[in-house]
């Protein structure tokens, strides 16, 4: 190809390439509306999360205390007939059950909605709330059960990903979360986690 043909090729290449992914008119107002909404959502979540975390910890701690006292009083009466795990562990077992139920409900709804396309932004907020309890559970005697600890760690990973989903979320991120749920058999483990011999979750989960 001589110099003239080379130049001509490049000129024609540029001309023809203008049709490659030719953009339509910029939807500037629609995108601006999305940008302002998303920025507002992110600002709001920055404000709300510390408050929610504080509240959740307080509520969880209070619930554990009340349960601990109640179970302690009850166990005093049955101790000799039916020796069981320590009161503190019983309280955490009781607290774990509703948490796992809520988490299962969230993940089930998330999977169902993700099949229809975009996932509602409320999932991120709910996941954020559950993350606090997950961390509480991981730091509690409930995590002495290796099966529960492993499940909690996987749940924490999944919930972090859901909590960080941007509004108008990326389909690929959603699909990757669903793949993670499948690969780690999270839903199955959530539904089947039960007592482990020698550990403290008998009857609570």
């Amino acid at each position: 190809m001589n110099e003239n043909r080379e130049d001509r090729f490049e000129r024609e290449l540029k001309r023809m390439a203008q049709d490659y992914h030719r953009p339509p008119e910029t939807p500037r107002d629609e995108m601006w509306a999305r940008i302002t909404a998303e920025r507002a959502r992110r600002r709001e979540s920055m404000k709300v999360v510390p408050l929610r975390r504080w509240m959740t910890w307080s509520v969880a701690a209070a619930a554990v205390l009340v349960l601990g006292v109640a179970i302690g009083r009850w166990s005093m009466n049955v101790k000799e007939k039916n020796p069981g795990p320590r009161n503190e562990e019983m309280a955490y077992r009781a607290a774990a059950a509703p948490y796992l139920t809520r988490t299962e409900a969230l993940l089930t709804s998330f999977r169902a909605e993700s099949r229809t396309g975009k996932v509602d932004a409320d999932f991120a907020a709910q996941a954020q709330d559950l993350l606090v309890t997950t961390r509480l559970m991981l730091n509690s005697p409930a995590a002495r059960d290796p099966r529960l600890a492993s499940l909690l760690q996987d749940l924490e990973t999944m919930l972090v990903q859901i909590a960080q989903l941007p509004a108008g979320n990326d389909r690929n991120d959603v699909d990757l979360i669903n793949q993670g749920l499948d690969q780690r058999s999270v839903m199955l483990r959530l539904r089947t986690i039960g007592p482990t011999p020698g550990t403290s979750h008998r009857g609570a989960l």
């Binding site: 190809m1 043909r5 001509r8 090729f9 490049e10 024609e12 290449l13 540029k14 023809m16 390439a17 203008q18 049709d19 490659y20 992914h21 953009p23 339509p24 910029t26 939807p27 500037r28 629609e30 995108m31 601006w32 999305r34 940008i35 998303e38 920025r39 992110r42 941007p166 108008g168 990326d170 690929n172 991120d173 699909d175 990757l176 793949q179």
Partner: protein
């Protein structure tokens, strides 16, 4: 009102200045995103994320380069990362053909020059494709491309040259129609 003044007003907390800055630059960002993605939803997502990041990080913009250069570097990063994620996902899901295979195997099935050109551009390695789109399609200079992609302008020139060479090979069947 120029970018410098708008940026000062945005930093001072004027919402109208944010919109003005957006209006001044959104066309090129959206065009760039669309050229790279070839999909309106993706282009909107990339554009949205670009401006959100730009406004969040505006305090870090020191004015050492043009605002547009800084903004387009964010846009290319957002788009390339988004497309990489998409590519990884599709690879897992469908085991799509390798880029070179696409070019070769579809050559006989798709005689239309524009479609073949589109396939050949799609099949370029990411760096070549990005430089080709920025320079030959969107008209960026090598200096602008270098700043946006954090590469030397000489690297941009070299990648453009290799991109064109690959396209020339991929479109060799059409040489007579193309040049004649």
């Amino acid at each position: 009102m120029d970018d410098r003044e708008l940026i000062a007003r945005v930093r001072a907390g004027e919402p109208a200045a944010e919109r003005a800055l957006y209006d001044a630059h959104v066309d090129r960002v959206y065009r760039l995103s669309y050229r790279m993605a070839g999909d309106d939803d993706l282009a909107r997502d990339f554009t949205q994320e670009t401006f959100i990041r730009a406004f969040e990080r505006l305090d870090t913009f020191r004015g050492e380069s043009a605002f547009s250069t800084w903004l387009h570097s964010i846009a290319t990063t957002v788009a390339l990362n988004g497309l990489r994620k998409l590519k990884r996902f599709r690879k897992r899901e469908t085991d799509i053909e390798e880029a070179d295979g696409v070019t070769a195997s579809r050559a006989n099935a798709e005689p239309d020059l524009k479609k073949r050109l589109a396939q050949a551009i799609d099949a370029l390695p990411e760096g070549y494709r990005t430089v080709f789109l920025l320079h030959d399609v969107e008209g960026y200079t090598h200096e602008e491309i270098g700043a946006a992609l954090a590469i030397e302008s000489g690297t941009s020139k070299a990648q453009l040259s290799r991109a064109r060479a690959k396209l020339r090979i991929a479109l060799a069947d059409f040489a007579g129609e193309w040049i004649g």
